[in-house]
Symmetry: C2
Subunit: 242 residues, 2 copies
DNA sequence: AATTCCAAGTTATATATAGAACTGGTTGAC
DNA sequence: GTCAACCAGTTCTATATATAACTTGGAATT
């Protein structure tokens, strides 16, 4: 948020300047998840810094979940573990052993003017709305309305559906260099309206769980707002605190 | 709780040993929130370590939210912000401006043998069960069943109710030196049985939200299991991810 | 009485260095 | 061909040191 700064190099400590530089180069796509970044020693030489300073900068990015250090091997760009974090909250109760990712179908994608409340969150009313339905165990279990700013995702609505997998965040990263670093969820309870009921294959007025999520990029900018609805009786939301 | 880990000192790196030692001394109540811990230099001398190693250990505890460093002044025990973390998730939707903590009434406290599922989580079946009802805006909104191991909380059932405030975790800390450092919540929806309905003042069969929580101490030991139930239509659960 | 200044103590930043622990590949012996 | 030994490169741990930035309290000055 206060990180929009291009003038970052004011008179910040060296380790912060290096952290920012690395973050920028990562965001620019300089490295892939399977190739090592320059070694600590290399970065120290290049930047005319000591190894300790370099390690402090790199450690910050590790703590932020961007990088991954492998002793004896190198420092790598981390493959975002969407399953383990942003996604696992949507597991269903009776899944048994299934760690499988639910399949998903895109119902629609369209350019539109966002409702005021959503425009307020995203900071713009020029958005793309994605309607999506996720199946699990051969039954629809989650109906989603997703809003993303056109500014950040130009042309998203024209990407062939075949190139969009069951998870959106990897698409955001690969095609638009938008990294979803954190999110806020809000869980509540409601009853199904007609549209939702027909999508989920339940009756109008049936109990549903509602998850509203705002997703943020690394610098804290909101990059997505979505609402997901599913049958309340099959729903379970897990959260770790502290 | 004093020293669960006698074997901890196996052959861990020095900074981890120091971190563990400090965590134990903090848990034992050696310092208050308004007095400084020994300085980095002092800890280095005492432990025959270098300052860098000490700083690494202290920094871990800062990252874990236990300590707080004030440049030029010292390192202090942080005042646990129960409101800001473990508690805020239970705010109700229509609260308006009310940041107030709901009042709570203890309905019962008794020594008992825990059901298998709970004994499994807590690692013992000798527990104390606390039934509690929380009010908000003059209406009951949360019915809780709380289970804590007798081993960790001996005599909890005999504490005068007047000495138990609306929040339990401060009581755990002050009287039993048990620090609740993290928790896992699981939110689901169900319908009210007779007991719950009468406590909450709703009808049997009405939709309720169910929050099951396992709370952990610093070293990861489960120290409490609770289930909370409230009217689903007034419920809202907030969670930050990543 | 109020303000300024100073000194000691503290955390924060940064460097330089050394060896341990580990990885991945190459070489060599069998 | 297989296995063991070796090696270069990497991260990890730890020490020692120096300086900057900041806080606090008391002394000195006005």
């Amino acid at each position: 948020m206060v990180e929009m700064n291009l003038q970052a190099d004011a008179r910040l400590p060296a380790y912060l300047r290096l952290r920012d530089e690395l973050a920028a180069r990562i965001a620019a796509g300089e490295w892939r998840t399977d190739e090592a970044l320059p070694s600590d020693n290399r970065l120290a030489r290049d930047g005319d810094l000591s190894v300790g300073t370099v390690r402090k900068a790199v450690q910050m990015l590790v703590d932020e979940g961007l990088l991954e250090r492998r002793q004896g091997s190198g420092t790598y760009l981390r493959k975002p573990a969407f399953n383990a974090t942003l996604f696992r909250f949507f597991q269903m109760r009776d899944s048994g052993s299934g760690q499988s990712i639910p399949s998903s179908r895109l119902l629609s994608r369209e350019l539109m003017t966002a409702p005021a409340a959503i425009a307020d969150v995203l900071g713009t009313d020029e958005v793309i709305r994605i309607e999506r339905l996720r199946d699990f165990a051969d039954r629809p279990f989650l109906s989603e309305d997703i809003y993303i700013p056109v500014r950040l995702f130009p042309g998203f609505e024209t990407i062939p559906e075949s190139e969009i997998g069951p998870l959106l965040y990897p698409v955001y990263l690969d095609r638009f260099e938008v990294f979803v670093a954190s999110a806020e969820d809000e869980v509540s309870f409601a009853t199904a309206d007609e549209t939702t009921a027909s999508r989920l294959g339940i009756a109008t007025g049936d109990a549903i769980a509602v998850i509203e999520r705002t997703a943020y990029s690394l610098n804290g900018t909101p990059v997505e707002w979505r609402v997901a609805r599913g049958p309340a009786d099959r729903f379970r939301y897990r959260s770790r605190i502290g």
